[in-house]
């Protein structure tokens, strides 16, 4: 079993090496003439105003929060799905309860407008 992961490690190593090679190729053959104008942030020809990285809306954070909760739910669903045939009706009811409890939260988020993107 462990052996299969060595294959994945080899694949990760090879693809990282390839990506590194591509970057080195670009560095080697591309010309480099630095000017102040070129190294400005690109804003379609306008001179940028203010800093490039700013605070972002709270909505992204909330989406990530909701994502974690449902992601964990899916993680629980997967091993359940593997043994489902052996569990039968009991497994179905059990998972139904699990999901229904979470659906309450989902409906709350919906009603509160957390899923809107105005």
């Amino acid at each position: 079993m462990l052996l299969q992961y060595i294959a994945i490690a080899i694949l990760i190593f090879l693809s990282t090496a390839l990506a590194g090679l591509v970057i080195v190729l670009g560095e080697l053959f591309g010309p480099r003439v630095k000017t102040n104008v070129k190294s400005m942030p690109y804003e379609s020809g306008m001179t940028p105003i203010g800093p490039g990285t700013r605070r972002m809306p709270v909505r992204f954070y909330l989406i990530a929060m909701l994502f974690i909760l449902f992601d964990i739910e899916i993680i629980f669903l997967l091993p359940w799905a593997v043994v489902f045939r052996k569990l039968g009706v009991f497994g179905l009811v059990e998972m139904l309860i699990f999901i229904l409890i979470l659906l309450v939260g989902y409906l709350y988020a919906w009603k509160k407008g957390a899923l809107e993107w105005e």
Partner: protein, 169 residues
């Protein structure tokens, strides 16, 4: 030294170095990325322990979700994403002393426990750990109650997050 031990030592060293960088680097986004490296090292350790499910879940949940949340949170809160203050304050020696004492105490306490020195029995070959895990999670004589309670916990987190973020509406 077997190749397995070598891999373990390298991964452990990488994990520790990355964890150290998490607390010492001044750029918060870099700190979050070092945290990702640490978590990945832990995932590799899970693989070495023959627990592939936990390893992959570690990647999906911790790297794919929680660390992303951290990065979003950093971008949300700090305008200047660089910590300018000193990293050590005047009481650093007291903190060092307390942690040394705690470590010594724990070391002394666990010295007599044979879990560190005893070699665990090898896993029976050909056993499907995955379906064993699935059954343990949802069969009535195992962990079904904690499993259902986990959903209540997730519900509380969900409602809390929405409530805090949308209080003014």
């Amino acid at each position: 030294m077997t190749p397995l031990q070598l891999v373990f030592l390298l991964t452990a060293a990488l994990t520790l170095v990355a964890a150290f960088r998490v607390v010492t680097t001044r750029n918060l986004v870099h700190a979050a990325l070092w945290l990702v490296v640490t978590l990945f090292g832990v995932a590799v350790l899970f693989v070495l322990l023959n627990a592939p499910f936990l390893a992959v879940v570690q990647v999906v949940v911790y790297i794919g979700a929680i660390a992303v949340l951290f990065i979003f949170a950093i971008m949300l809160t700090r305008r200047e994403m660089r910590d300018q203050g000193a990293q050590l304050n005047k009481g650093w020696w007291a903190a060092a002393l307390v942690s040394l004492l705690t470590f010594g105490g724990l070391f002394w306490l666990t010295r007599s426990w044979d879990g560190f020195t005893r070699t665990a029995a090898p896993l029976p070959t050909g056993q499907d750990t995955l379906s064993a895990l699935g059954k343990a999670l949802v069969s009535p004589d195992a962990f079904v109650l904690p499993f259902e309670i986990a959903s209540v916990l997730l519900l509380a987190a969900l409602v809390g997050a929405v409530y805090v973020a949308y209080r003014e509406k």
